[in-house]
Symmetry: C2
């Protein structure tokens, strides 16, 4: 049976913890994956979490640490001295993770932790990684990799690789460089292991991919994720402007980037300004939710002012008030649909080949179809239930106009934002909705005034 | 320089195609990755795409085919005979991809294609894979893997593995089985290559992970994705009830699953009932958009009926109409936020440890905070701009009530849907919005009637 966390197990650890039965705990968690241990810790109270964390031995402690959520990490970091951070955590983990952890510390503490690190190469690796922005390819790469020079023989290479591989948790691909350390090719471990080549041949003779995929360190991490997804890569080499091999990005890092991207877009579409975890405090959740709510609220107040202009019309034909939410909601729905399609198309790169004009034209045709159908339904409804051709015409025509406007506006805004390098996902949610509300209602009342001679 | 698709290149291929200069085309695309070639094809007209596809040689043609979007695949499949499909496509690709392609064919054509396949093992692999549902672990696994028996010597193993590895594009991990073909451990290629073990030792002595992570074939593909993400795995072995090794899931398949999941949730939240590509026809786009729009439309008509009940109140105090969109929109916004948090929490598994009661309680507290702040703003606004305490009180209190209701409702519904095994993401969008609209407006008018003595 595979291990699975459940409440009974958590309670068991909790009980052992309060009994101080450390030997039993060590035995219980020996075979459990660091990711599972981290999940258990996150179910504990602060004091329990701290003392449990201290019971995890050696390298595993560092691995568990990396799996914890941000708040738990910060909590634990603040309870450790710089020396402990250096020895128990940073010294045990890969350069990219080490750089991530260190970048969260104050500048003073960064220097202290670095001074306690024993491995000079690690120190210089971390310093180099800290120079890249967090969201760049350089910012998510690790320095650990296995590389060989093209003129080495296989025998020589295997000796060198054995040393390098000790530092690398998963090798995936061997990188072949020339004597200027420039990436010229790759070789899979499989080819190396199973090809019937003499160990006296040089790597130049056997490496497979002559034009390997790579990414420049300063490019966006998102770009690396797209490449790895498109070309089904598990590792992507990172180079500098001179094609010198700097590090590599592995698929697990990229999966995290992809997940964060998707979550961010989803949050924006749902009107959340920040990532909300179910474990967050009330204050954290409110802080993520209030900005869009307050913006939406002011939007609503603005809409109230706009309707106020037509108060006389409503006073004369009260029925007009009935369809205010419908006009507003449909404008919002269509706008959100249109912008979501654009945002997803941009995220997939599937939109690049079309011009803004082409997108808008197609959107216009789709909107005509939706508009005619929806307007027809509303007109029919009014004819049957409200028995008013004038009202039916007013609502139907206004609905048609608002659908077409919302579709074009919802398409245009994210495309525009993308052009000026603003994340198009901000366009989804309250902003588009409020604009569509105002436009839709103004159109609605203008048409109403015309039909009812107000 | 790395190859990048651009309009000039596409035009060049297009020109060569119309000139019939096939040799030049072959040369141009020789070094281009199948994923890029697929992207080029998708820029072409149907006739161009077909003749271009025919120019791609051998295995690469199959690889390009796999990278194409669904519609292009269907298009090409219908232009090929069963024999061509078997020989040019299915015969060249991995079992999991082959099963995917075949499952899209009619039952008659499936049998025809299978009868043209030369490799009996492939036929039985495909037949086995077709038995699993598309969204199960078995449905996304491939049969290609490298496995050794625990009692083989390394020397013996390497000979066997060399044969197996020829079929496997990326090996990642060697699976160790006992003589009943049950998975008992794994061994990394790296350990195999660099460990200083004698080639006379058996695998029993050197395999590393004694309790490897695995998944049962009948479990959900989504579950496999979660495991691989959590444990940073690049390949996950799939077993049957008796722990016999059936296949393995690789990270590229899982990346696709994750992406589809995220896109699906995003679409639902945006009111799209289906995946919309920017290349889709007007009809396809409309079909994905109309269902939610029409549901939203009927919701709006229902809301109109509800407001109709209070037509007298509006006739007497026209100002009440001004805040109808605000009340409706805020209920919608809060409801969508709440349900999005639950949907994301469920997707991350971070919600499992809390009971529904705990979630609702916390949501209630957060809603109180948001409700008080928003109600305060609206009350202040009314006092200043509308100069009406009665109206300010009405709108403020109604807003507070609708925020609290929408938060609880938006949390409760997806949790409930999840309990009864319906995708909670369907709760986001029009359904929650319409319900909140109706509740919010009824509360609004009830309070208004009380304050204004209507």
């Amino acid at each position: 049976m595979q291990f699975e966390i459940n409440k009974a197990f958590i309670q068991e650890i909790r009980d052992l913890l309060s009994e101080g039965n450390h030997a039993q705990i060590a035995e219980r968690i020996a075979k459990i994956h660091p990711a599972d241990i981290a999940e258990i810790i996150q179910q504990f109270r602060e004091d329990e979490a701290n003392s449990f964390f201290q019971l995890i031995e050696g390298e595993k402690r560092a691995e568990v640490f990396l799996e914890l959520d941000e708040d738990y990490r910060d909590e634990l970091l603040s309870s450790l001295t710089s020396k402990e951070i250096a020895e128990q955590l940073i010294g045990q983990i890969d350069s990219d993770d080490a750089a991530d952890v260190i970048s969260d510390l104050s500048e003073k503490q960064q220097a202290e932790v670095m001074s306690h690190l024993e491995d000079d190469e690690q120190v210089s690796d971390i310093k180099q990684l800290l120079r890249y922005p967090e969201d760049s390819a350089g910012g998510i790469m690790g320095k650990e990799l296995v590389k060989v020079q093209e003129d080495w023989t296989l025998a020589q290479g295997i000796r060198e690789m054995r040393k390098q591989a000790a530092e690398v948790s998963e090798v995936f691909t061997i990188y072949v460089v020339n004597n200027q350390d420039q990436l010229i090719g790759t070789l899979s471990l499989k080819k190396m292991l199973f090809s019937p080549t003499s160990i006296k041949s040089t790597f130049k003779e056997i490496y497979t991919t002559k034009e390997p995929k790579f990414i420049m360190a300063h490019e966006k991490a998102e770009e690396a994720a797209k490449m790895m997804e498109k070309y089904d890569l598990v590792a992507l080499p990172v180079v500098d402007e001179e094609m010198r091999l700097l590090g590599r990005i592995t698929i697990d890092d990229v999966v995290d980037v992809m997940k964060e991207e998707a979550e961010k877009d989803y949050q924006m579409a749902s009107g959340l300004s920040d990532k909300v975890e179910t474990t967050d405090t009330v204050w954290e959740v409110s802080r993520a939710r209030l900005p869009w709510l307050v913006i939406g609220l002011f939007g609503g107040l603005l809409v109230a002012k706009v309707i106020g202009v037509y108060e006389d019309a409503i006073a004369q034909v009260t029925q007009l008030a009935l369809f205010i939410p419908l006009i507003a909601a449909m404008g919002g729905n269509v706008g959100v649909q249109s912008s979501a399609i654009v945002v997803q198309g941009l995220a997939n790169d599937s939109i690049n080949m079309q011009t803004i004009g082409q997108r808008l034209w197609k959107e216009f045709i789709v909107a005509l179809v939706s508009g005619v159908i929806c307007a027809g339904i509303v007109f029919g409804f009014n004819l049957i239930f409200e028995d008013s051709i004038k009202l039916g015409m007013t609502v139907g025509i206004a609905l048609f106009c608002v659908i077409v406007f919302a579709a074009l506006f919802g398409t245009f805004i994210p495309l525009m934002l993308n052009k000026v390098k603003i994340d198009p996902a901000v366009a989804t949610g309250p902003f588009i909705t409020t604009t569509n509300d105002i436009f839709g209602l103004v159109i609605y009342f203008i048409i109403a005034k015309a039909f009812f001679n107000l």
